[in-house]
């Protein structure tokens, strides 16, 4: 499957994800290839491809109106794309009953139905017994079994919706903005619940504007921009946490000279410090020690997901060369000597 190369990240490093030797054993839960959705002649999504594997926490990010919810609807078979392939657990979506579950918001519940009834119906429909119903009910955090869904607060309804989506342990759970309305006590619950779900082999695909949560929890993120995939890979690569070392020396001129002579990709700052890309702390430390460069500090420079995302969305989206999906390309990591300014 062809995946478009993301644009150059800050630091000049371009990384595309690639199948590892173990991937063959973990066939994707969800595979989209070249998905195109149009509305009134305008492309809402254009050439979107991605893969979600079991045991992963995947984030879906992008500005309002970029097509996140539309993409989720296509993946679940709720919206027919104009072009492209969609495979859910190896089948046409939505697959077998209970294979995939979703929550598109806290207010999409029958308002006059009791919350207990909602939970009970959902769990029973998935083959759960009385104990499973009680366990699910405990997770909602609600005390009154007579309360109706329409009388719940936003946060309570959101938590109820997530509990119902996770009932029956589906293979894929799709959550659209699940943190909306959750209070400080419920956020850790959601975090732990999804972590347990993923640890059990489930795949969570979460669209969210809560970047702190995504940065904390996601294994990989997909960033949509203008209907296309602007980035698809680990959060750490997007934020540059993997390969950015900030150095500060009491002799900044010597530091600069050593870095230039060694040919290390780096960026210098007005205060004399420098950020080196694509090298480990051990490598850089040995080089500086060999050249007797006195170090004041050396640490991994990690940008927030928020600022990384803003920089990414400010760049033009790379259009893939081929329109049709092809075989997956091997991972390649290219570093450039000329580092663009941040």
């Amino acid at each position: 499957m062809h995946r478009p190369d993301p644009p150059a990240l800050p630091g000049g490093t371009v990384t595309t994800a690639a199948p590892s030797p173990t991937d063959a054993a973990d066939s994707p839960v969800l595979a989209l290839a070249g998905v195109r959705v149009t509305l009134g002649g305008q492309a809402i999504l254009d050439g979107v491809s991605l893969r979600l594997r079991p045991g992963g926490w995947y984030g879906l990010l992008g500005p309002n109106g970029c097509g996140k919810t539309t993409l989720m609807r296509v993946a679940l078979g709720l919206l027919r794309p104009a072009a492209g392939l969609v495979s859910l657990c190896g089948q046409q979506p939505p697959g077998r009953p209970g294979t995939v579950a979703a929550s598109f918001g806290p207010r999409l519940l029958h308002p006059r139905r009791r919350a207990w009834t909602e939970v009970s119906l959902r769990v029973r429909a998935l083959g759960g017994d009385r104990r499973a119903v009680h366990a699910a009910w405990e997770e909602t955090g609600l005390a009154d079994t007579r309360v109706r869904c329409g009388d719940l607060s936003l946060g309570q309804a959101q938590r109820l919706a997530v509990v119902c989506a996770l009932a029956g342990a589906p293979r894929l759970v799709v959550l659209d903005e699940p943190t909306v309305g959750l209070d400080a006590a419920a956020l850790p619950w959601l975090r732990e619940r999804l972590a347990a779900f993923v640890a059990g082999g489930g795949c969570a695909w979460v669209s969210s504007h809560d970047l702190a949560e995504v940065e904390r929890c996601a294994d990989q993120v997909t960033v949509l921009h203008a209907g296309r995939v602007a980035y698809d890979g680990p959060v750490s690569t997007l934020t540059g946490a993997d390969d950015a070392l900030r150095l500060r020396s009491s002799q900044p001129d010597l530091l600069r000279t050593v870095l230039v002579e060694a040919g290390l990709p780096h960026q210098r700052y007005s205060d004399g410090s420098a950020t080196v890309f694509g090298r480990t702390a051990v490598e850089v430390g040995r080089l500086l020690a060999a050249r007797s460069v006195p170090l004041v500090s050396m640490y991994e420079e990690r940008r927030s997901l928020d600022s990384s995302l803003r920089d990414l969305l400010a760049q033009p989206v790379v259009v893939p060369e081929t329109a049709t999906p092809g075989p997956a390309e091997p991972m390649e990591r290219r570093t450039v000597s000329a580092v663009p300014g941040r």
Partner: protein, 205 residues
């Protein structure tokens, strides 16, 4: 009030006597189906229900089956009300001893109209349009069609229901029953096609 009731009963082709509940059965069962099927669309729970069922066809089948059972129950209750009304009025038993056939006819008509109402709700994308369409058809459109196009009057669902639930019951229930079933299946097929072809929204209807 009495004139309006009489007009309504005339429109439903039933005599203004004891079995008024039977005269209202198409509307009541149709409303049951429309509201039951339209709720998921109205409250935005359709995506979750489709995923839970494992597909649109499975969802439609389960929905139709559930509403048919409820409609059948409503029809049986209506038939019981008609019989009890006649007994209470100390008139001659209206069904000539064919009580089982009468109840079966009531249940069948209730099931068909519930599925019809559900189909209308899916086609109309919600309960409001379905309820309006159903009532408009029963009270206005079908009487006008009967007057304008007499040869096809017998095939219309209201007329077929009236023939099925006539008192005393007809010698055979097949005529009206088959015509009503044909219309029901036609509407159900249209609703299924609409459900398959349309995109499913993730907002309230």
């Amino acid at each position: 009030m009495a004139a309006g009731t009489t007009a309504a009963l005339h429109a439903l082709h039933s005599p203004p006597s004891g079995p008024a509940a039977l005269a209202a059965l198409p509307a009541l069962a149709g409303l049951l189906g429309a509201l039951g099927a339209g709720a998921d669309i109205r409250y935005g729970s359709l995506p979750a229900e489709l995923l839970l069922a494992g597909g649109r066809t499975r969802y439609a089948s389960r929905l139709a089956a559930a509403l048919a059972v409820l409609g059948a129950g409503l029809g049986a209750v209506s038939a019981a009300a008609a019989v009890l009304t006649a007994v209470g009025l100390a008139t001659a038993p209206p069904v000539g001893g064919r009580v089982e056939a009468f109840f079966a006819a009531g249940a069948f008509a209730g099931a068909c109209w519930a599925v019809l109402g559900a189909g209308l709700a899916i086609v109309a994308r919600g309960p409001t349009g379905a309820v309006a369409s159903l009532l408009a058809y029963l009270l206005l459109i079908e009487p006008m069609l009967e007057a304008a196009v007499r040869p096809v009057a017998a095939t219309l669902p209201g007329r077929a229901t009236a023939a099925l639930l006539a008192i005393p019951p007809p010698a055979t229930l097949a005529g009206g029953g088959l015509r009503l079933l044909a219309v029901t299946l036609l509407v159900a097929a249209c609703a299924h096609a609409a459900l398959l072809l349309r995109d499913v929204p993730v907002t309230t209807g």
